[in-house]
């Protein structure tokens, strides 16, 4: 880890659930910065740097994306698919947030190469374990830097 905070993009339409995630993060690590978007379309806009998210300094590419599957406008799976099909965005770790570990949904998520999943309500311990596991995978923003310039 560098001194830079790890960027986490939280895609969650339910403000209560978003709040819960935020609270979970609070006492966790200062080096984590959470950016919250409310729907799939917004998430894609952010990732592609469309419109108000064009400024990569303010809105850098995340290292990790916490993705709710059930989203208004563009569905979570759709977002996952786009991310993992994009050469630029593929490196972003995607953790699916789901209300149930129904096999079919998880199978679909795996098919689209989600990196992991968390079942709501998110347990703090689970979350930290996951972050530790993924820690090695979390890369510094230097990898994405050339892409920023492109």
């Amino acid at each position: 880890m560098t001194g830079e905070p790890s960027i986490i993009l939280l895609v969650e339409d339910n403000p209560d659930h978003a709040e819960l995630v935020m609270r979970n993060m609070e006492g966790f690590n200062a080096a984590i910065r959470i950016i919250h978007v409310e729907n799939g379309q917004e998430a894609l806009d952010y990732l592609y740097g469309n419109g108000e998210y064009a400024d990569r300094k303010r809105y850098p590419l995340p290292h990790l994306m916490l993705l709710d599957l059930r989203l208004p406008k563009v569905d979570g799976l759709q977002v996952l698919k786009e991310v993992k099909c994009s050469a630029i965005l593929r490196a972003i770790l995607v953790v699916i947030l789901t209300t149930s570990d129904a096999e079919r949904i998880l199978a679909m998520a795996c098919e689209y190469h989600a990196d992991s999943y968390l079942t709501k309500p998110i347990d703090l311990n689970d979350f930290s374990t996951l972050l530790v596991c993924l820690g090695g995978l979390l890369t510094g923003p230097e990898q994405t830097a050339p892409l920023n310039n492109a």
């Binding site: 339409d13 339910n14 209560d16 659930h17 709040e19 819960l20 609270r23 409310e38 729907n39 599957l69 059930r70 208004p72 406008k73 563009v74 569905d75 789901t98 209300t99 149930s100 129904a102 079919r104 949904i105 709501k120 309500p121």
Partner: protein
């Protein structure tokens, strides 16, 4: 077919043979019977002839014998010789002459001699009765010397009298002297007229007849002389002669010593049957004869009757057999007709079956039979099909894989195979089929019988079910997620509060409690919505004619408040039709769409909403058009999903369009949205199927009431 014809021919020839055998039997029986009858008849004729002839011969013999004996007695009467001596030898005693005359008279009266003469040794008549006395005939004179010499009574056979030219017999009786027995002193000649007794005796025939006659013949040199008149030739006695060379004549044969039954030709040239017999002690031969024609007339008649009878029998046998044959043929054709009809019936049934039926050869896999149902679907003609093999219409099989798959049938390991595969039509298109394949043993060997169902419809239904299932799965997932979501909120925040209270941090407890309350409300709302959604299609109101204009007006009245608040100008297209539908539900549809239009009007300065209808592809498309925010095309599908909202901050649970969709679908219609994008307004369209599907789903009894 051909075997039936040959059987028919065989039966016909059997009948012909039976007839031939029967005919032979009839003819042979007839012949034997006739032959037997003929034999008996001939024997009968023979015995009849012989009886008659023998009777006559006996009579003739006796007649002659009687006469001769009588003559002998006369020759021995002493008185007579004494009278003759006294009257003509020793002088002329008148007394003796008178006595003699008296004796003559008495004798001729009592015996049947027509003339009595007393002759001397030279043949001169000494005395006679009747009295006129022409000289004796030469025939008699010839015998006088002989009689004088032999002193024996002699019968002069039939001769012709020189004087009256008539035929007589004469018995010459020598009268010896009573004094000197060795001396003949006179001869008494007793003339016999054969007409009186002999001829009638000969002529007599005991049975009435036409041609029968009896002839008396004697031999004279090389000739046979007839002694009595012929039946068919008068005055032939002693005149008619036949040369002995003419051996065909019965008379000649008789004279030559033949006796018994003979055939020959008579003096008239007629064929005759004759019975010959010598009359013992006489020079005579008796010939009894009759025309063959007459003798055998009964035989001929019998023959004629036999021919008639045999012919009749033959005819009736032919008729009987013909009748039987005809009956047999009728039966044969009837049964054949029945078989043929059954065959045609069965073939018709099979041909008309809409199941596709294929029969093909196990070796070549070539088709040998294809029914109409198959031809209709596969598109080939029957001639084309007969040049194809099963592989040609099964695109999913190669010849090898097909043969391998059918092997269990050939090995007898399985009785039937079921395939689910595809058939390729002549035009190249394919259709899904289910094939039931059997190996069927027939008289001409084994064949594969494939009964094929076109399962296109089933496949479509299967797909629909699969789609429905997927939809249901999605729905379940959505529902579970959306119900779980508030629960998570409640659970998480309550633990958060617990933690905060433990750490003494109270600043956010209140907001957290509000969050919990809101989540509980949301949960309740969603459950209500779900109940409402499930009620559609489960609880139905009767379909009724609904005037669309009235319905829209009614809904607008209910929405007066929100409409006024939004300042939207609402217009309704005039002349909307009346449709058959569940009025209450349709009102919900209209209400939801209008509410939606108001809700997502955005920051439009002059909001306008139009309810209208347009005709499209023969169906009525109702629409709610607004000039509000509009919807990006990529969201056109998921806005109808349950609890889907494009804007999570907007009011409502996201049930509205899901409800609309459900109601419209229950009515057999479709719902969709048209919008060119953000800020361009949107048009929500829906159709209703007023006909069958709605009635079936909503209220079947409505059909009969309409």
């Amino acid at each position: 077919m051909s075997s039936n014809q040959s059987m028919d021919r065989r039966v016909s020839s059997q009948f012909a043979w039976i007839f031939v055998l029967l005919a032979i039997a009839i003819v042979v029986t007839g012949y034997l019977y006739y032959h037997n009858y003929e034999q008996r008849f001939r024997r009968e004729i023979e015995s009849k002839f012989s009886a008659i002839v023998e009777l006559k011969v006996n009579e003739l013999e006796r007649w002659r014998k009687d006469h001769l004996e009588h003559g002998d007695i006369i020759s021995r009467i002493e008185t007579l010789s004494s009278l003759v001596r006294r009257a003509f030898v020793d002088g002329a005693d008148p007394e003796a002459r008178r006595h003699l005359q008296g004796w003559f008279a008495a004798y001729s009266n009592s015996f049947q001699y027509d003339q009595i003469r007393l002759l001397d040794g030279n043949g001169t008549t000494l005395m006679s009765l009747p009295i006129d006395r022409p000289p004796v005939s030469d025939a008699i004179r010839k015998h006088i010397a002989e009689v004088v010499h032999s002193k024996q009574v002699t019968m002069v056979d039939f001769y012709q009298n020189d004087h009256d030219k008539r035929i007589y017999l004469n018995m010459l009786i020598p009268i010896r002297s009573d004094q000197d027995k060795s001396r003949v002193i006179g001869i008494i000649a007793l003339r016999i007229d054969p007409e009186k007794h002999l001829y009638p005796l000969i002529r007599f025939w005991p049975i009435p007849n036409r041609s029968a006659e009896t002839l008396l013949v004697r031999r004279e040199g090389d000739e046979a002389l007839f002694l009595n008149d012929h039946k068919f030739k008068k005055n032939s006695a002693l005149k008619m002669r036949v040369s002995l060379n003419d051996v065909k004549k019965p008379a000649v044969q008789a004279v030559l010593g033949k006796e018994g039954f003979v055939h020959g030709k008579d003096y008239r040239g007629e064929t005759v049957v004759a019975y010959l017999h010598t009359v013992p002690g006489t020079p005579w031969f008796l010939v009894a004869r009759m025309d063959t024609e007459e003798v055998y007339a009964p035989l001929k008649e019998r023959l004629w009757w036999m021919v008639v009878a045999v012919t009749l029998l033959l005819f009736s046998a032919a008729a009987g057999l013909g009748l039987l044959w005809r009956q047999q043929r009728v039966q044969f054709y009837r049964s054949q007709y029945r078989v043929e009809r059954e065959r045609a019936w069965l073939q018709g049934v099979i041909a008309r079956s809409l199941n596709e039926i294929y029969v093909f050869d196990p070796q070549s896999l070539r088709f040998t039979f294809i029914n109409n149902g198959a031809l209709l679907n596969i598109g080939y003609s029957i001639e084309e099909m007969k040049n194809l093999t099963a592989c040609d219409i099964l695109p999913e099989y190669t010849e090898e894989s097909l043969r391998t798959s059918m092997q269990p049938l050939l090995d007898g390991m399985q009785e039937r195979l079921v395939y689910e595969t595809k058939h390729r039509r002549k035009n190249g298109s394919a259709y899904p089929v289910e094939i039931y394949l059997q190996l069927v043993d027939t008289a001409d060997g084994s064949v594969f019988l494939a009964i094929v169902n076109d399962i296109t419809v089933r496949k479509l239904a299967d797909n629909e079910i699969r789609q429905k299932n997927a939809e249901l799965e999605r729905f379940t997932y959505t529902v579970s997620h959306d119900l779980k979501s508030p629960l998570i909120t409640i659970k998480s925040f309550s633990s958060s509060i617990k933690r905060d209270l433990a750490t003494g941090r109270q600043d956010r407890v209140e907001t957290d409690l509000e969050r919990i309350g809101a989540a509980a409300d949301k949960m309740a709302e969603r459950l209500d919505d779900l109940l409402e959604l499930s009620r559609i299609g489960r609880i139905v109101n009767a379909a009724e004619p609904v005037a669309m204009t009235g319905l829209v007006e009614e809904v607008l009245t209910q929405l007066a408040g929100p409409l006024k608040a939004s300042r939207a100008a609402v217009s309704v297209q005039p002349g909307l039709p009346t449709v058959m539908c569940d009025r209450q539900r349709l009102a919900e549809v209209v209400q939801n769409l209008l509410e939606n239009a108001v809700k997502y009007m955005g920051d439009q300065d002059q909001p306008r909403i139009l309810f209208g209808m347009r005709e499209e592809c023969n169906s009525k498309v109702f629409f709610v058009q607004d000039n509000g925010r509009g919807i990006d095309e990529k969201y056109h599908q998921n806005i109808f999903g349950l609890f889907n909202k494009l804007d999570s901050k907007s009011d409502g649970t996201g049930i509205g369009l899901a409800l609309v969709k459900r109601i419209v679908e229950v009515h057999g219609g479709e719902v969709w949205v048209e919008s060119e994008g953000c800020g361009k307004g949107s048009t929500f369209c829906f159709t209703l199927t007023e006909g069958k599907r709605f009635s079936e789903i909503i209220h079947p009894s409505q059909i009969s009431q309409r």
